[in-house]
């Protein structure tokens, strides 16, 4: 049971910096919107930090989150993202290599930002390149793998595709003479994903660890490109430790589900970091599933993923689209319900509290005061704030109502937004072709699901059944008939939906059609080990 008290552990850190601790207790600290590219990067950053401590994917518990020291890679970041005059200098000094180096080093001395104690001397770079022009070519090349190009984020919030461990560094902001850590890009959602992996079975963790260790090898050619721009990389991670992310459940079906899919992708043995393009949609997809499954457990005491009806993009609206919209809305509503249930459980259904409130010796004001104190303590809300918000509530009943409203507001602006952004980012949820959100997976997500689930070849029916059993995804008529109410189900429409899936997969080289009664789903990357 996901929500069973023995499956949960309290957060051991301080809650002082939080306005409240409600959604955090349900989903963890925390699910919050972030640029989608940051999700996997944050996950890898944490993994890399722990890898350096020899603790990569060692088991974790909710009450004791591991801490790690992320890299800052300031020289690299200055060269790539805080170095706007590079091309201009190359153009002006063409023909004279020495002039080029001289001017550039001077400019960097003036404009680079390395914080107090950091040296603005980039002359080590000159020793490492045959010519200034070659250096510029290298910078151009590396700039091309900037993530979210055109995002207009400041230079300290620009990131690289993770071609090696030196591309994994933390998000910072300039502050005074130095820098401070910011949680604006890495909102901890990627760390939640890491913690989920760290709670899989030992076998699965070992499979993932074996693959990731190769990714974190600093001696690869690609990582060498980055190290060349850094004076000393190993010395770079001595700053303040990072930690405090919280995932409330010791065990959760989502952990192993995510872990086995991640392991399956990593074991495809693709060149370099090619697996990353498939991990990106999958990680978001699994954290989304974790979120709705958890919400379902709290809201309905149903410890399964709620049904996810997926429309394979149809030319016009049909019953599949209606069912997909409905299932999305139903699942979206689970979050609020979960928050309400959790708040109720800790207040209205708290026997000790209820007994105290029904004490006839207390007048209404004392009751209200007692409840405010209880709420403040239970949900880590600041008492003065709470008193302010509750001041003119006439009775305990109204106070409760206000509490629910506050909790709902926190949820809507925090976790709810984060969960939706995971669903849209991974390609599960979209408005394509309509004006409303619904489950309509992209080809990229479908491909990742095939690669993670199909070992070699599998008959379509078996594949669809597996998607249903593992993720409760409904695409074809067999699963729809089992899950949907009569008026939502139409055999012909769901058959067409299944047919569209086959067509998409055929086009992508992921299916082979034998006849109208038999299609094989094929994982072309799979190799028997």
């Amino acid at each position: 049971m996901i929500t069973a008290p023995e499956n949960r552990e309290e957060y051991s850190g301080s809650k002082d910096r939080h306005e409240a601790w409600i959604e955090e207790a349900i989903w963890g600290h925390r699910l919050e919107r972030q640029p989608y590219s940051a999700l996997c990067l944050e996950l890898l950053g944490m993994a890399e930090g722990l890898h350096r401590q020899g603790k990569l994917l060692t088991p974790t518990v909710p009450s004791n989150t591991p801490q790690y020291h992320p890299h800052r890679c300031l020289q690299l970041r200055n060269i790539l993202f805080n170095n706007s005059r590079l091309e201009e200098i190359l153009n002006k000094t063409r023909g004279s290599d020495d002039d080029g180096w001289k001017q550039w080093l001077e400019v960097m001395k003036e404009t680079s930002s390395l914080g107090s104690g950091g040296s603005n001397d980039f002359s080590y770079i000159k020793q490492r390149f045959d010519s200034f022009e070659e250096f510029v070519a290298m910078v151009r090349l590396l700039r091309r793998i900037t993530l979210d190009q055109g995002s207009e984020r400041t230079w300290t919030l620009q990131f690289l595709f993770p071609i090696g461990p030196a591309a994994l560094y933390e998000a910072i902001r300039e502050k005074g003479d130095g820098f401070e850590r910011t949680r604006g890009v890495f909102t901890r959602t990627g760390e939640i994903a890491y913690l989920m992996l760290s709670r899989c079975s030992e076998g699965t963790r070992a499979r993932i660890r074996t693959a990731l260790e190769k990714w974190f090898d600093p001696a690869t050619l690609r990582n060498g490109l980055l190290l060349r721009l850094l004076k000393e990389w190993q010395q770079d991670a001595n700053g303040e430790a990072k930690g405090g992310t919280y995932l409330p459940y010791k065990a959760h079906p989502a952990y192993e589900r995510m872990g086995s899919d991640v392991a399956a992708i990593l074991e495809l043995n693709l060149p370099d970091q090619d697996a990353y393009q498939y991990l990106q949609p999958l990680v978001g997809f699994h954290v989304y599933l974790y979120a709705v499954e958890t919400a379902n457990a709290w809201a309905k005491d149903d410890h399964r993923i709620p049904p996810i009806v997926c429309e394979i993009l149809a030319p016009k609206s049909d019953l599949v689209r209606k069912a997909a919209v409905k299932s999305y809305l139903d699942n979206d509503a689970l979050g609020s319900l979960a928050v309400q249930t959790y708040v109720e459980q800790r207040t209205l259904k708290d026997t000790a509290l209820c007994q105290r409130l029904s004490d006839e010796r207390l007048d209404e004001t004392a009751r209200k005061q007692f409840l405010i104190e209880h709420v403040s303590k239970t949900f880590a809300m600041k008492q003065p704030d709470l008193e302010e918000r509750m001041r003119d509530a006439v009775d305990v009943k109204e106070l409760y109502q206000r509490l629910f409203n506050i909790a709902e507001r926190f949820y809507r602006s925090g976790a709810s937004d984060g969960i939706v952004s995971l669903g849209t980012g991974c390609g599960l949820i979209s408005k394509r072709g309509t004006t409303r959100f619904r489950y309509a997976p992209t080809d990229e997500l479908l491909r990742a699901l095939v690669l993670a689930n199909v070992r070699g070849t599998e008959e379509e029916t078996v594949f669809l059944r597996k998607l249903h059993q593992r993720y409760r995804i409904i695409i074809g008529p067999a699963e729809a008939k089992r899950e949907l109410q009569g008026y939502d189900f139409d055999d012909a429409d769901f058959k067409k939906n299944r047919e569209r899936l086959a067509q998409h997969l055929l086009g992508m080289g992921l299916a082979q059609r034998m006849s109208d009664a038999c299609t094989y789903i094929h994982n072309p990357m799979f190799v028997e080990t």
């Binding site: 060498g224 060149p271 090619d274 080289g509 038999c518 072309p524």
Partner: protein
């Protein structure tokens, strides 16, 4: 009045058409026609019959267990009946879809159990196959992997086969598991044998082209067609009847040949056309008419009146594509879905449209016009087309409906020309450009045909493949056709622009770095890439070839077809993995494409 012989014949053809709602209804319809009217069914010797008989050698008694699979309507049951007749010399007498026979061979008696109607045979309890049925399958498994003298023939649709295995109870014996896994694996991989005693014949492996050839023969060469001469007093057999015109058109060598080519296209795009589908297509092509009650003419009053009223509405280039049928009816059938996927007539070239519109009016175009547009020996052209054209030229077609109507008519004309053009005309007027496969001729005639005949494919087409791969796999406009450049992005192998050079494969090296080859019995050629001792190969379907040709010509890979582009990116990933391509450790080599399209490599040196 009782139906004439000719009308009975048409009734038989109609029974194969798109009039039945389902298989059972069609079987019933056929039974009625053959039994009541006494017209023998359409028949031909199935190309798989020989394979089946070879599994039961009467000489040495070395029988095999056979699973005969394929889509519905391929003729599995008939093949089983023929096998019984062959082995016992007696007609089949099986009940409930099962038959037991004892065969005397020179090595002694052999028992054979044939299951040719799985649905009638199997019984289920609680959603699972009954213990008796499981027992039978287990005995089959024991025979397949053991030494029993009892053999089994299981005829089953491919969908049913999976259903049957899904209905097995949760715990089954290891030998039955082995049978299930072997059969599913053989079916998926197109293999025929698992050991010496288990054989699979998938009727879908018989090329659609062969099926089309046999079906055309079975329909067009029946003596019953003499009714056209013998019963010409009936309007339906007069020269102004759409049926007679369609029969004549369909019988012309160019059209017959075109149908074979289209079936070949099905084979090389991985869309198998089953016998039932092909017969349906031919039946509707002959008898289809949009004004008929079921949209397929019924011999008798209906055919006698409607077939001569506006025969152009039922011209072959319309009925062949199922234009007379409802959209829902067409969509139900794989064969029409396949044809609509080709988009014949929906694309065009300026030259062809000039011929269609101005051909009869422009002296310069006159010769070509009389060669390719004007000939209409069986009056298939819409007589309204010429007035419509005049109106168009005058600029009198302005309303949206009219414009759409006119465009439809032009597309229909293109289809008429496409169907009756000879192969020389197809090439001369680039008529494949009116379809989605602009390069079908090059593929069929210059790659596939030489390979089928044991010769090397045309070098220009192989170079085209190389050019397309270069364009897709590097994302740059390389001119090179003599090498395949293997390159990667700094981030992903599949980066839209992959300009980090890894290796190059020379087409002219020995052995060649890229070859297009034929493999075993596969009718689709393979692209084979070689690097050192490592190889990587993939099936070069027409769809893939078309994509490569289009991008080689300059189309943007991802905007031409997102799906094909994704397919090729996955192929690239596998190619780099399987060829074990590793770039230099001394320098990164950036590919620079010069304005001439030539490649220059710029090194960025790496630290020692």
């Amino acid at each position: 009045m009782p139906p004439s012989l000719g009308e009975k014949w048409l009734s038989l053809i109609r029974a194969y058409g798109p009039v039945a709602e389902n298989d059972a209804q069609q079987a019933e319809l056929l039974r009625t026609v053959t039994q009541h009217l006494g017209v023998p069914k359409l028949s031909f010797e199935h190309p798989a019959k020989q394979f089946l008989i070879e599994c039961f050698s009467l000489k040495n008694g070395a029988f095999k267990n056979v699973v005969l699979t394929g889509t519905a309507g391929e003729g599995k049951t008939s093949l089983c009946f023929e096998l019984v007749q062959h082995l016992t010399g007696e007609p089949p007498r099986g009940k409930s879809g099962v038959e037991d026979i004892v065969v005397d061979t020179e090595a002694g008696a052999r028992h054979v159990k044939l299951i040719y109607d799985v649905t009638a045979w199997r019984t289920k309890t609680n959603g699972h196959l009954s213990p008796d049925d499981v027992d039978l399958l287990e005995r089959m498994a024991e025979s397949a992997f053991g030494e029993s003298d009892k053999f089994f023939v299981l005829a089953v649709n491919d969908g049913q086969m999976h259903e049957l295995f899904r209905a097995l109870p949760d715990s089954i014996s290891p030998i039955l598991t082995r049978l299930r896994d072997s059969l599913i694996g053989m079916h998926a991989r197109g293999e025929r044998d698992a050991g010496s005693r288990l054989h699979m014949i998938n009727l879908s492996w018989i090329p659609s082209e062969r099926i089309m050839e046999l079906c055309l023969e079975a329909v067009l060469e029946r003596p019953e067609w003499k009714c056209i001469a013998a019963e010409k007093h009936l309007p339906v057999f007069s020269e102004s009847s759409s049926i007679v015109r369609n029969y004549r058109t369909l019988s012309s060598p160019e059209v017959r040949d075109k149908l074979l080519t289209l079936a070949r296209i099905a084979d090389v795009t991985g869309s198998h056309l089953p016998t039932r589908g092909v017969l349906c297509l031919i039946s509707n092509a002959l008898l289809g008419h949009p004004e008929a009650k079921d949209r397929v003419l019924r011999p008798g009053n209906e055919a006698n009146t409607i077939s001569i009223r506006r025969p152009e509405l039922a011209a072959l280039h319309r009925t062949f594509f199922g234009e007379n049928l409802t959209r829902a009816n067409r969509r139900k059938r794989d064969v029409y879905r396949f044809l609509s996927m080709l988009h014949i007539g929906e694309e065009t070239t300026n030259e062809l449209d000039d011929l269609l519109v101005f051909g009869s009016r422009d002296r310069e175009l006159e010769r070509d016009y009389s060669e390719v547009v004007k000939p209409d020996p069986f009056k298939q052209q819409n007589p309204q087309f010429e007035p419509l054209l005049r109106k168009y030229i005058k600029g009198d077609i302005v309303e949206e409906d009219e414009v759409l109507g006119f465009l439809d008519e032009v597309a229909s004309e293109r289809r008429r020309i496409f169907l009756r053009a000879s192969s020389e005309q197809m090439e001369k007027y680039s008529l494949w450009r009116t379809t989605v496969f602009h390069f079908a001729r090059e593929y069929l005639d210059e790659l596939r045909k030489p390979l089928e005949n044991g010769r090397a494919p045309n070098r220009a087409q192989v170079r085209r493949v190389a050019a397309g791969l270069n364009r897709t796999w590097t994302g740059m406009l390389l001119e090179s056709q003599h090498q395949v450049y293997l390159a990667t992005g700094l981030d992903l192998t599949t980066s839209a622009v992959s300009d980090l050079f890894l290796a190059q494969l020379d087409l002219d090296s020995e052995p060649a770095g890229l070859e297009v080859v034929k493999k075993d019995r596969d009718c689709i050629p393979f692209v084979l890439l070689r690097m050192g001792t490592n190889q990587f190969e993939f099936r070069l379907t027409l769809t893939r070839f078309e994509f490569l040709c289009r991008v080689a010509e300059g189309a943007m890979p991802s905007s031409f077809s997102k799906e094909s582009c994704a397919d090729f990116m996955a192929l690239k990933q596998r190619a780099l993995r399987d060829l074990k391509v590793k770039g230099s450790r001394r320098a990164l080599q950036l590919i620079d494409v010069q304005t001439t399209g030539n490649v220059q490599l710029h090194p960025i040196h790496l630290p020692e």
